[in-house]
Symmetry: C2
Amino acid sequence: MYHKNLLNVQKTFEIIQKLEWNTKKELINLQNGNSRVLAQEIEVKIDVPPFNRSAMDGYAVIADDVSKASETEPRYLKVVEEIGAGDVSNHVIEFGQAIKIATGAKMPMGSDAVIMEENVEYEGGKIKIVSPVNSNNDVALKGEDLKKGELIISDDQILGPHHLSVIASAGYNEIEVYKKPQIGVIITGNELVEPSTKLTPGKIINSNKFALKGVIEDSMAVAHIQQCSDDSKQLILAVEEAVDKYDAVITTGGTAISKGDLIVDIVEDLGNVPIHGVSIKPGKPFGFGIIKQTPVFMLSGYPVAVAVQYDIFVRNHILKMQKINKKFNFITAIAGENIRSSPDKYNVIRANFKDDTGVVYPIRTKAGINKSILLSNCYIIAEEGTGKIKKHGKCNILKYNTLKIC
Amino acid sequence: MYHKNLLNVQKTFEIIQKLEWNTKKELINLQNGNSRVLAQEIEVKIDVPPFNRSAMDGYAVIADDVSKASETEPRYLKVVEEIGAGDVSNHVIEFGQAIKIATGAKMPMGSDAVIMEENVEYEGGKIKIVSPVNSNNDVALKGEDLKKGELIISDDQILGPHHLSVIASAGYNEIEVYKKPQIGVIITGNELVEPSTKLTPGKIINSNKFALKGVIEDSMAVAHIQQCSDDSKQLILAVEEAVDKYDAVITTGGTAISKGDLIVDIVEDLGNVPIHGVSIKPGKPFGFGIIKQTPVFMLSGYPVAVAVQYDIFVRNHILKMQKINKKFNFITAIAGENIRSSPDKYNVIRANFKDDTGVVYPIRTKAGINKSILLSNCYIIAEEGTGKIKKHGKCNILKYNTLKIC
């Protein structure tokens, strides 16, 4: 089967987006939470600080006791104890007394202010104070950072290092996150072999495997890659196993009309194929099927088409599986030269955007030149009906570094 | 020891930058290359394509044979064979003949052009051709993507998915990359405990551990975290072991002047400490030492100071260890309100930058409020001598998302 009537890109998006995301949740140790997606709310479990504590290295005092201290009439306090960060004093401080205190240590009973070490003179067991301080001076008050019961982070948050730190402070050792989507990749093509310098005639190096592992990792998911020969029975088994085992399946190769192109028929037999053939350039033979609720993205064999099909149709779906709603972040750029596009297609043109000038230059290579992706930093997107974009005209671009989450 | 004369930030950078990076290289399988840094040049080992091949599903022909084909005088060719992508034909094509060919298949001997399947009519073993094609039409020529001997990627390149794909095509199964820096982290502080809702008096949850693991991962390095009590003997052992085992060491806590603050003295005993005390706010007690060539970054205990010290002094050094030369990417923003800064300090102020308006608003919380990092997306950097920044005035900001590599 091959839909001679190509589906337009907008309709393709709609069909794919209708599919519900389907990753589950899992409980992980907080230390493994960086770059994961939170699947719970974070409600603070304990006050932070849990008690009034010193915000400075200095001396705990009673503010009223030094309210009249001045250069001319200094106040002298006797240092009755010294407490480190993890220590707790049992001493109840009285007028005329001070306790040497480290940053973070619990304020001794009776004291209500800290005077910085630099602001006193110490001699013979006493400190000399020459200016008053307010109550709570350099004291971190119980609950001033986090209040017990406060909601501080919503679910669906992508966690960075400092989220983890705050979640730890809120009393959590474990958190619930969305499981990383497990993506089965089936590379078809009898001609494909591992990288080597000794290729037998007719063989081509399997480069898609490496690109797909990387783009799937960049989509915060896990790739399980296998190669399968263009043999009907083996391919059916591979697809059946993959849709059972993984959250989504990607295939490459075998979507067009030629000898040995089987995958679309197989997916249609096992489930259904709402999309085959899209008016996109490159990447026209894109197919999308569903088998037992599992999406199957059928990509081309050509690396350039695979890259475009992944970026335009697959990536955001895999992100959505873990509740990340990513949209394309189009930028308007100025065409640095005349740019041709097919008016009946959604054209995805590799190009180079100059941040300083806002001008974009298409990469001039034949369609199949994979290397061109290394020379480019964006796609020019020329939708259906655009046709020729004139030099100095405006066009929409999609920078590669805005496709990723980071 | 404590340098009462604080070192200025520029001098601090200079001292840290003098240190040579020191990661080694390792050979890895290409499939594990995503987000690694290449430590070799990539010189193409084989022509890609390795032979002339069909760029389309269609029919291989001799261009001269169809040079007069037209709607009124169509040319009919006999289809003598059919070859799939991995197959090779032994047939030498002659005038009057065509071979059905799949995209990617090697061009049969004698043929020099491909006619797309859509452009012919097939009937009874023959195809009808109604327009001529040029020699090499829809043929991917040997070496047109990659030429044997061509240098395509330089060393020090951070590898993305599509680099891997091109490197595979160039004939590489393994690549040499820089080892990920191994960073030993020693968390000091007797008061620090694991996240829990049942804190005994004087104890504080160790949140730095979680933040540091994350920021080190985000620096493309590996964190080895241990907690060590504020005991001189144990701390000496921990530091000695860590400098032997890891590429760099980070400590937290114990850099200021108070009871139980040992780390700076220990590092000075074991090596030397060119930096202790920097005119930065927050993060003044920052220390930097070297023991047997291994850098030791001594950070504060306070999470807010740790974050700033890491971002300003540590991150770029860890990146440089694997040959990534990252500089701060300052942006000029408009102050949304009056902003105070200490004129004798390099002030690093958590703030919120609005991309659409270019206006930045400082976060108004007490210095120790760790949560503030979640409310902010950038630092305002007010260097020494800046003092007050007036509302509507210009200031330099550093967006958090520009600190990372991605």
